[in-house]
């Protein structure tokens, strides 16, 4: 063992992360090498001093309260919905006991006095997106092929949603599911963008209805909404708004063809 190998292993030596064989090799080397013995002393010193003297910044009580409140608010975004019964969602190991509890509580309690109109739709859209992220079935039909996804909706919806893969433009279609927004079943098409997931909710609108593109933020997610060509669209994602607008533009351009 040469000095540069030994010096890396000296960390493992003081941290007790070496096998007995490696330990013996390091011992054999340091016996004949004063530089590496000094190095070992330095490694020892900081390994002993840091846990004792180094500062560990505990979370301040105000921050704990703030986070608990924020998580509860995020949990409220998930209203009591049929997905509970439809999907056998297995909540993961209680990583975040509080978060899970908040979610369960939000689902158990009927939210009274919901806002109306657009507000409520936006709430539903974000709630659906959160459910999809949290649950185990964000995608019920996983395919980038519109000829697979589109037929899947037949019999599940009373309309035919627009389905296009935009992989060539950097927004591959990941699949789709049926979701529940504004008291009706709607199509939720799932697009991927890097490691982000974008939900595109769509359902029919009167042919003459026009609503301009409207961007908003809700519960930490970006929301885009517009109505055109007999279809109402809602997009929800944690993707940057500029990127979401690109997808919106692609969806609109597709409609024109």
């Amino acid at each position: 063992m040469n000095c540069s190998e030994a010096r890396v292993r000296l960390a493992g030596y003081v941290d007790d992360e070496l096998s007995p064989g490696e330990r013996a090799e390091v011992d054999a080397h340091t016996q004949g090498c004063a530089d590496c013995r000094r190095e070992r002393s330095a490694q020892w010193f900081f390994h002993r001093a840091l846990p004792r003297e180094g500062r560990r910044y505990a979370a301040p009580p105000a921050l704990r309260r703030r986070i608990r409140t924020a998580l509860r608010a995020a949990g409220d975004a998930a209203p009591p919905a049929p997905w509970w019964r439809r999907w056998s969602v297995t909540l993961p190991v209680p990583v975040l006991g509080g978060a899970v509890a908040a979610l369960v509580a939000a689902n158990a309690v009927l939210l009274a006095g919901l806002p109306t109109g657009e507000e409520r739709l936006a709430e539903d859209v974000v709630a659906g997106h959160v459910r999809a992220l949290v649950g185990s079935h964000p995608i019920e039909v996983a395919s980038s092929d519109r000829h697979t996804v589109k037929p899947w909706y037949v019999g599940r919806l009373d309309f035919s949603p627009p389905v296009t893969d935009f992989a060539a433009d950097g927004f591959p279609l990941a699949g789709g599911r049926v979701d529940f927004v504004g008291g009706r079943t709607v199509a939720a098409l799932v697009y991927a963008r890097h490691e982000h997931m974008i939900d595109v909710y769509a359902w029919p609108a009167p042919a003459s209805a026009r609503e301009p593109l409207e961007a908003s933020e809700r519960r930490g997610f970006n929301v885009l909404h517009w109505t055109a060509g007999g279809m109402t669209y809602w997009l929800a994602s944690d993707l940057e708004m500029a990127e979401m607008k690109r997808l919106a533009a692609l969806l609109e351009a597709r409609r024109g063809t």
């Binding site: 000095c3 540069s4 010096r7 890396v8 292993r9 000296l10 960390a11 493992g12 941290d15 992360e17 530089d35 000094r38 190095e39 002393s41 330095a42 490694q43 010193f45 900081f46 390994h47 001093a49 840091l50 846990p51 003297e53 180094g54 500062r55 560990r56 910044y57 505990a58 979370a59 301040p60 921050l63 704990r64 703030r66 986070i67 608990r68 924020a70 998580l71 995020a74 949990g75 993961p92 190991v93 990583v95 975040l96 006991g97 509080g98 978060a99 899970v100 979610l103 959160v130 992220l133 949290v134 649950g135 185990s136 964000p138 930490g220 944690d238």
Partner: protein, 183 residues
């Protein structure tokens, strides 16, 4: 909320100030909440620490408020790659005698603060959070061997900064280099 202290401690050491650290911690827990569908049963503490770290780097990119590369000491940076761990200088290299001259161990915190992020986070996870190499490797998403070489180098960099504090070793101060001084 489990692991909130660990999450905040890492965020605080990454951010360098409590304001950003609190924002990053909160954001990380919200992200964890949104994405805990991705949790696959590894160690929960490592998982939340990983999210803290990702949140920090996202935050860093977003605000572009700081540029690590201009902030810390170039000398520390120029010592070489992860594996290149040169011998300490020759004049006074006895750790005990150098450390004996460090009159205030609070300088430890300052020295740790001044380390490049990759070394600082490895030390924080190892020495303050008491994570094993395997847990650190998972949190930082690097091989275990890299964890070992980073820790070796991190402690060596601390030693170098103590040597400078005590003025014990001028050979470690690389600029201006002797060659340049002759010219």
């Amino acid at each position: 909320m489990p692991h909130m202290d660990a999450a905040h401690n890492l965020a605080r050491w990454l951010c360098g100030n409590s304001h950003e650290a609190e924002d990053v911690t909160q954001e990380a827990f919200l992200r964890a909440f949104r994405f805990f569908g991705t949790f696959r049963g590894e160690d929960a503490r490592g998982w939340i620490l990983k999210i803290v770290r990702n949140t920090y780097y996202t935050h860093l990119r977003r605000v572009r408020a700081r540029d690590e590369s201009t902030e810390f000491d170039e000398e520390l940076h120029s010592i070489g790659g992860d594996d290149a761990i040169p011998a300490m200088g020759r004049s006074d290299t006895n750790p005990e005698s150098i450390l004996a001259r460090v009159d205030d161990l609070r300088q430890l915190d300052r020295a740790l603060e001044a380390l490049p992020t990759e070394f600082r986070e490895a030390l924080v996870l190892r020495e303050l959070e008491d994570l094993s190499y395997k847990e650190i490797a998972e949190t930082l998403d690097v091989p275990i061997g890299t964890v070992m070489s980073r820790l070796a180098r991190a402690r060596r960099l601390l030693m170098a900064s103590f040597q400078r504090i005590t003025g014990g070793n001028h050979e470690l101060q690389r600029s201006p280099s002797p060659a340049r001084r002759i010219r």
